[in-house]
Structures are given as C-alpha cells and as structure tokens.
Amino acid sequence: MTQEVPSAPDPRPKFTKNDFVSGAEVRWCPGCGDYSILGAMQQTLAKFDIPRENYVFVSGIGCSSRFPYYMNTYGFHTIHGRAPTIATGLRLVNPDLSIWVITGDGDALSIGGNHFIHAMRRNLNFNVLLVNNEIYGLTKGQYSPTSPTGKVTKSSPYGSIEHPINPLCLAIASEATFIARTLDSDPRHMSAVMERAMRHKGVSFIEVYQNCIIFNDKAHAPVTGRDTREDRMVYLENGKPLVFGRVDDKKAIRLNGLYPEIVKFDPANTQGLLIHNEADPRPNNAYLLTQLTHPDFPVPFGVLRCVEKPTYDDLMNQQIQDVIKKKGRGRLKDLLYTDDTWTVTP
C-alpha cells in the first residue's frame, strides 16, 4: 500500500550513496550548506532497499529547490511554493513511491504558506525537508519570513520590522505527525533524522538549519557555532530529560506550571525534569519544544514529535475500496444509461 519500508535495515546494503548521485553538475555556491544536505540524503537513501525508480524528489523555487536535479531518481522542479500540491497529486495516484518535497524558508513559509499548512494537516504520506537559511538566496539577499526582526538585508536596509515565523510551531499548529529539526553541519544527525522521517507513515517535516555563506553567513552560528553549541543546542532523546551544557556544567529543563525553566542537571535526581515524549498524541509537549528558542533557551534538535494518525492517501484509498465493495466497480454503460432515460422509437 504505502511506501515499502523494511522493518529493519538490511545488514548488507543493496545501494551505495553513489547510486543516488545524478551526475548533473552541482551549481550551489562553494561552501553552501546544501552540499552536506544533499550528501546526507544520498547517504540516507542507501540505507533502504527501495530502488531508485521509486523515489521522487519534488521541489519549488529557490537555491535548495535545485536539489532534484542532483538526485539520480525521478524529480520535478516545479514552481514557487507549490511543490506540496504536486506531491499531493502524485501521492494520490501512486501509493508505491517514496516522495520527498524539498523546500526553503521563502518557498514553504512565504509564497507556499497555504500549501504548507494544508499538507501538514492532511497527513499525506510524504516527507518535507525545509532548508532554513533565514534569507532569500536565489534572488540575492532579501529578508525571508524566518529572518529575525531587525535583520539588515538588501530589502530591509534599516532592519526588518517583521516578526519571524517559527516553522516547527507552524507545523505543530497544523497537527503534523512527524516534526524534527537538524543542521547542515552535522551529517550524521541529518541522516538519522531523514531515516526516521522515511520510516514514519504520514507527513514528515524536517527543518534543517542551513548556512547561506554568501547572503547570510553564520546566521545560525549563535546557536550552532563551535563555541556556543553545547550551551545553546539540546539533542532530543525520546524518554530522556533534555540535557545540555558543558561536561562540567550540565543543565536540564523542567516545567514551572506551563513554563519551561533551566535547572542544573543532577543525574542522580531527575525528578521533575521535562522528559521528552515524542509519541505523545497531544500536541502540547511538541508545541512547548518549538517555543524553546535562542537566546532564552537551548534550541532542540532531533525528533520533536512522531505520532500515528491515518494518512489522507490511505483514507482516500479506503473510501474508494469501500464504495466499490458496496456498489461494485462502476460500468460506463450503467452510468450513462440510468433509470431516468426514455426511448424514442422510429
């Protein structure tokens, strides 16, 4: 029915990363974070037994949306913001494909904001990877819907007066069933998250913190930078407290009423700490995690939410099967020649 995902990885991999390299000349800027995302994706697909003809990469417009050209799979580089709509139609006529939507912060959240929320709420069985560099790169440096307030760009020379949107929060508001965050500088983590997304049945949404070296270099460095990341990033582990900080100064999160606060971490006493539960069917915990933002809190990475819900495509297939079971497969003759006909004789 849905994409064939083996329950356990084959110990002898069928494919290698190179099987998924298209050979088209990659045209991102030297040093662009997209290279490592592409590599992580190719690495991830090699972990599965899915033949490459069963993958489709669909993208919109923007630097990251060139992604499909570099994958040796089926690909469709569509129009700005609309990739989820094309993926939707494709998903609904072919249950066997493994579909990835590759998008960016402008593509998914600005021009494609409407399609984004509806793809999330419908729980269509495909994966959405959002490359977030907080800037419009392909149009050469205007602020994006995720740019911070005050950001000076070519179209905001006196600083952006907009409030940025929080992609994960928007996804949880639309009740997405799989939500995760990763970063371009950690290929292993990226690949692990991508693998989880592929194994999830339903819509999977991944935000990747990506560095645009030309127009927004080091935008994420205050969080993910080498010197700061221990204190400002927290890697989520299911069933465990949210522990972060330097080896000699470990901290964790606990709830004070509805609000999170940072406390010193004592491995001997974890009572009262916020324990990550990605499978919680209620969205409250996942929402709370989306609100852990810099500079007040460490930013969570990993899987924020992974819950099961019927997918739109399965429900559609089921409805069709049920009707056919009840009424029989329609016959064209019966459809045209109904009870309301009359006959004219010569």
Binding site: I79, V93, N114, T343
Partner: protein, 618 residues
C-alpha cells in the same frame, strides 16, 4: 373533466419565478423531467442570483427557471416566455421583460400586499394600476389555496405554505396536459424519510391541477406534441453533468485513473460534486486548499502517469496560469475546465459570458501554447470532454476546455451514445530501452514527448520549469536551444490540426454570408439562421467551432468562400480578433469581410437579436 378546448402549439416557453427560497429551480426541474418523459424536445435556462438567500421578497433574491419545450427542435430556452408564474411582486418585476406581450401571467396575489410591493419597489399595485394591461393576467391566492388544500395535513402553517410551488406546478401540468406520475414518483423518493411531506406535496400538486381543471381560471389548454427526435435512448442532462460523465468515460477509454484537483467556484462546482460520488469508478477527487493547489495536484497526478484534470471558472483560471505554464514546459497532459462567467474580477458569478477565450490563448508568461476546445450544447459537453482528454494524452499538452455558466446549468435531451462509438484513446508509457532515456525526444508525427511513469526502472529523469535542452531535457540556457524549444512547443500544438475534424458548414458552401460561432451560442445561432432562411431572406450558412486552438485546417478556406462572415460572441470580439490575426490576408485577397455581433450582458443570446444582426447584413 378535461373537456376544455385544447390548442395545438409547436413550441412553448414557460418561466417560473419566485424567491430563492421558493423552490423555483426544483419546480422547473420537475416540469422538465415530465417534459422529457412526454417526448418533447426542450432546452432549459436556470437564472439565479449568487446570493444563497437574499432577504425574502426582495429583487436580488429572485430566482427563475425558463424552459422551452416543443414538437419542433428546441435549440434554445426561448427568448421570451409565453407563460410566467410569479410567486411574488419582486419575481414579477424582475421578469416582466422576459414575458411576451399578450402572454399569460399567473401571479400569487397573496404576496402582493403592502410589504411585498414595497420590497419589490412597486409604488402602486401592478395588479390594479394598469402595468399589466398588455398581458393576460391570472390572479390567484396561491398561498391560501395551498394552505387550504392541506388543512388536514399535520404540518405547520409555514410548512404548508411552502408547498405552493407544487400547487403551481400542478396548474402548469394541467395547462399543458401533462401527466403527474413522474413528479409523484419523484416526491415519494425525495421525501421518503418524511411521509408527511410526501403526502402534503402530492396533495398540493393534485390540488393545483384540479383547481385549474374545475375553475374557469385559464381559457384554454395547450398541447405540445411529441418531438420527432432521432430514434434512440435519451436522458436529460446539463452541461456540467455531461462534462463529469465525459471525463469518467474518457478515463475509462484511456485506461487511466481520473484525478480531479478542484477548488469550489461558481459555476463549476457541480462537476467536482458529481465526480466525488463516482468512487465506484475509482475517480479520485481532491478538494484543494486553493485554485493553485487544485491544478498543482492535477499536474502531480499527470506526472504520475494518470489523467489529471482541474475545474474552475475565470478568476480561478487567472490563479492557475503559472501552474498551467509548468504543464506547458513540462509537456504533461492536463485538462483545465473553465466554466466561464462574467468578469473582470468576481463579475457576476452566476451569469454567463464567453470572455475567457483570449485568456485561455494568451494569459500566461512567455510563449505558451495550449490546445483549446469548447462544447456547444449541454449534451455536447460529454463528447468535448472526451475530445479534450484525447488531445491532452495523445499530444502531451495541456488542453483548456471552455464551457460557460449557461451550458453548465442548462439542460436538454441527450441521445446516449453507443459505447462502441466512443473514440479510442491509446496511451503508451515507455519502458527501459537501449540507450539513456531521453525525456524530450519526440514522436516524429505529433512531436509529443514520452510520458515516463515514476516507478519505471531505468527512466529516472528530472523535469521542471526551467528551459529544457531539446531531446535530453537537461537544464539549458543556450539561446538557440530556447528558440528551438519555443518553436517546438508551438509546432506541437499546431500539429493537433492534423488530428481534428475539418469544419463543416450547414447550408450553402459558399455565398454572401456565413455565421461562425463557438461554444454555447450554437443553439441561438442555429435557430436564428433557420428563421432567416425560412423567411426566404437567405440562404445563410452556419458553421460552429469546437476546436479553437488550433483551428480546423480548412477554416481559412471556408471563410474565403463567403463575402461576409458574421461572428456572434458573448464578448467584445475575441474569436473575431483571433480570426483577423490568423486570416488577415483574407480581406485583401478575396474580399471576405469579418464582422462581429457582440453582447456582454451576462445572458445567452436571444434568437431574435442574432436574427436581427444577420438580417442587417442581408
């Protein structure tokens, strides 16, 4: 009982008019169904406001339904009505101009009270002030008569009053000597779960019929004999119903899953609704979040190797244009159904117009050819749907299907086709060959590119909105390649002309005057041409285009055989503009004059106005 004089008439036009809540569309539908069963030819015209329930009794709330039924062929719903039934003063006011002078008006006098007159902005009572002196007026307390007839029924008074449409229908059934059985059956099925409503509505229907029969209310009865329709099996069909059936049939003929991505919009929504019932045919309908998602999903389905279509009206076509262009450059099959309505912008959503032809032709960035077809009558929507799909799948191109609000809702008898007579639609998907797969290699005849289905081993490839290199389909910024691709896309659509029938002319094959139309104006033009010729003023020839891009190959030759070509359109001359461009040499060489007759009032042509336009050229 039925002993009164009966007058034989060849054709009658009846108009039902009331408040949006009075059930006039339903009453009209029932009258039509019985008309069909009685063997008449007919054509209907539902005419209603966009407001669902404007304040009761007001002018904007008036909903009307017109039907012409006949022994002779009925090409249109009739210009003006022989009989009007008006449920209130507002319905009278709005419809006065739609009734023939000397015609019959049946008016519900209960509604002509101070309040009703004020809402309809009648300063004095038209029943008594001489306004109606040119008509035969039958005043009836329709509401009282209905409530009285139902006095023993266990319904609230307001519920009884609402049965008055069936009382009125009963009157009309008497007037035209119709059988009540079909409507009684319909009421029984419709209200099966509420037996008290079945009883009340049937009682109201019979009471109306009997009231006409036993009173001297109406001077004569009329008889409209069976029409001499071609032998065959018929059903009543509206344009949107026929379109929905046509797309299902086309998918079956092509062996494809039908996928409709759609966003509700008047007057196209009923195609989405009809198709959403057809899960037994495996039809997949997706009600998208907006017009763009609707076409995007259809393109996704086409990319997936199935039949993607999308339904909309003019404002939606504007929103879809960028995605439509993606289908143009990706060279994927797609059918965009535009049920045209008045514009610009929201315009008059329930009113008809032929004003999207130039948008269909040119409303996209870059040079972006698509095929364009247009059905000419409600039943013709069926075969045109199949034709649109055939062209899209055979030629790997988007096709725009231009219906309109009039065709969408208007009904006529449809002679059902033999399934064997439907065209074959052959689709071939490539499989792995010897060399590398070339997604932009072309069929030497049609120039169609291969339609590779994702999931096919060895054909992995990438397409998209960036310009493609010829044959390989890789991204290309090469200037010569771009020019070549622009010309290839144009040539591919132009070559469809080799695959469509030539234009046929009804009447003299050359001469002083040809009337050339397209789309829903066919009926009015046909009737007007017949009238002119019957009056001995002709001979005038008629031809009608279903294929608007490309045109049939012989169109230029046909035009050149006439001194004058009149192009009636419900726009300011859009087909005329295309003809004058494509055949600009005609005038110089052969002296053929191309001229238009154009109305943009949101209503279909009257036969009389087209006739007058023709006569002015003779």
């Amino acid at each position: 009982m039925a002993g009164k004089a009966k007058q034989l008439v060849p054709a009658v036009t009846v108009r039902f008019a009331g408040d949006s809540g009075d059930g006039m569309q339903l009453t009209g539908d029932q009258f039509t169904d019985t008309t069909a069963v009685m063997g008449n030819d007919f054509s209907t015209f539902p005419d209603f406001p966009a407001e669902i329930r404007a304040p009761a009794g007001t002018l904007p709330g008036v909903s009307s339904f017109q039907i012409q039924f006949s022994e002779t062929p009925a090409f249109t719903p009739g210009d003006v009505a022989d009989v009007l039934i008006a449920m209130n003063p507002a319905a009278l006011k709005v419809n006065l101009r739609h009734v023939k002078k000397g015609g019959l008006m049946i008016l519900n006098e209960n509604a002509f009270d101070e309040d009703g007159l004020e809402k309809a902005a009648f300063p004095t009572n038209p029943l008594t002030d001489g306004t109606l002196r040119d008509w035969q007026v039958v005043r009836l307390p329709l509401s009282d008569l209905t409530v009285n007839a139902l006095k023993d029924h266990p319904l609230r008074a307001s519920e009884k009053e609402r049965c008055k449409n069936f009382f009125a229908l009963g009157l009309m059934f008497w007037l035209y000597d119709r059988n009540l059985d079909h409507t009684i059956e319909w009421i029984s099925a419709k209200f099966a779960k509420k037996p008290e409503f079945v009883a009340a509505n049937i009682a109201a229907l019979k009471a109306g019929y009997n009231h006409a029969d036993i009173t001297e209310l109406m001077p004569t009865r009329f008889e409209v004999r069976k029409s001499k329709l071609e032998p065959g099996t018929y059903r009543k069909v509206t344009g949107n119903e026929a379109a929905a059936l046509g797309f299902i049939a086309a998918a079956e003929l092509a062996g494809k899953t039908l996928f409709l991505g759609s966003y509700p919009i008047t007057p196209a929504s009923s195609i989405l609704q009809d198709l959403s019932y057809r899960k037994d045919f495996g039809v997949r309908t997706f009600q998208a979040e907006d017009e763009i998602a609707a076409i995007g999903s259809a393109i996704g389905a086409s990319f997936g190797g199935e039949l993607g279509i999308t339904t909309t009206s003019g404002p939606g076509l504007c929103l879809k244009s960028e995605a439509l262009n993606l289908a143009v450059i990706a060279e994927l099959p797609l059918v965009v159904i535009d049920v045209q309505r008045t514009g610009p912008s929201t315009g008059m959503p329930t009113k008809t117009e032929q004003t999207d032809l130039l948008q269909a032709m040119f409303g996209r960035n870059g040079e972006s050819p698509v095929a364009v077809v247009a059905p000419q009558s409600p039943a013709h929507c069926f075969e045109t749907a199949i034709e649109a799909v055939r062209l899209a799948l055979t030629h790997m191109t988007p096709v725009i299907y231009l219906s309109d609000g009039y065709l969408a809702n208007s009904a006529e008898p449809w002679k059902l086709p033999a399934l064997e007579s439907l065209p074959k639609i052959t689709v071939q998907h490539p499989t792995r060959g010897k060399g590398p797969f070339q997604p932009y290699a072309r069929d030497p005849q049609t120039l169609a590119r291969p339609w590779a289905k994702p999931g096919t081993p060895g054909l992995e490839h990438r397409i998209g909105g960036l310009e493609k290199a010829d044959i390989t389909g890789t991204v290309s910024y090469d200037p010569d390649n771009h020019e070549k691709m622009v010309k290839l896309r144009a040539e591919k659509v132009a070559r469809i002309a080799d695959d469509i029938p030539e234009l046929t002319v009804r009447g003299p094959q050359s001469g002083p005057l040809l009337i050339l139309g397209w789309g829903s104006t066919h009926g009015a033009i046909h009737a007007a041409v017949d009238e002119v010729n019957a009056a001995g003023k002709g001979p005038v020839a008629q031809a009608h285009l279903t294929h608007l891009n490309p045109f049939p190959k012989n169109l230029g030759a046909v035009l050149s055989r006439y001194k004058t070509v009149l192009v009636p359109e419900l726009n300011s001359g859009q087909l005329l503009m295309l003809l004058r461009h494509q055949f600009h040499r005609l005038g110089q060489k052969d002296g053929t004059r191309l001229t238009g007759y154009n109305r943009i009032r949101g209503v279909p042509f009257f036969v009389s106005e087209v006739r007058q336009a023709i006569e002015e050229l003779l």
